[in-house]
Symmetry: C2
Subunit: 115 residues, 2 copies
């Protein structure tokens, strides 16, 4: 399977050679689950397979979400933002999105300091 | 007004000197509105004022969302992710989040290529 983006999609990206932040949102609960990064290969694989595939910045490799944990993300849709430099995935999340076991990675609330 | 982060918040950030992607989600509709970036000054201002304040990478300056357009974001809560390198804001969005006039910046859907 070729992991190349179509010319149509490439033309929409602001910079096809940089990492693009990708937000995963639960398509059912609408909870924002996590933010990860895609390069053009991982975006291509995600579009072709329907399984959310990111680029791991720590391991420096393609990362099929859930490949080891089983906590996969079945992608319902992907949208690009107006600047062509951020992605939003609507996903069916199997199990917990976060490696901590939490439903969402955004579980550390900061205290507002308004008086 | 000092625009310094508290030591508590600083300690939670993976890298306080880098830009942190910040997702704005409508606290009422749960729609993901946009992704922008914060540095520690803009995060501090957001926590203190309750008005979403980003760092504009194109203008290289603090960017109080809606200051010129009137399309402000009143922040209800801010959460940090498990890695300390992404933020999720729950906001009350006044007017359209996107400079195009769209409700959300994520209005360009990509075509899935699954067979």
């Amino acid at each position: 399977m070729a992991i190349e983006l179509s010319a149509d999609v490439l033309a929409l990206l602001k910079d096809a050679d940089s990492l693009i932040p990708a937000i995963a949102q639960d398509s059912s609960t609408h909870e924002v689950l996590m933010l990860a990064y895609m390069n053009k290969e991982s975006l291509s694989l995600t579009l072709k397979t329907g399984n959310a595939t990111y680029w791991s910045r720590s391991r420096n490799e393609l990362w099929v979400k859930g490949l080891t944990s089983g906590h996969t993300q079945e992608v319902q849709s992907i949208s690009l933002d107006c600047d062509g430099d951020a992605l939003l995935l609507q996903v069916i999340q199997v199990g917990a999105a976060c490696h901590t076991g939490d439903v969402t990675c955004f579980h550390q609330e900061l205290e507002m300091e308004r008086n």
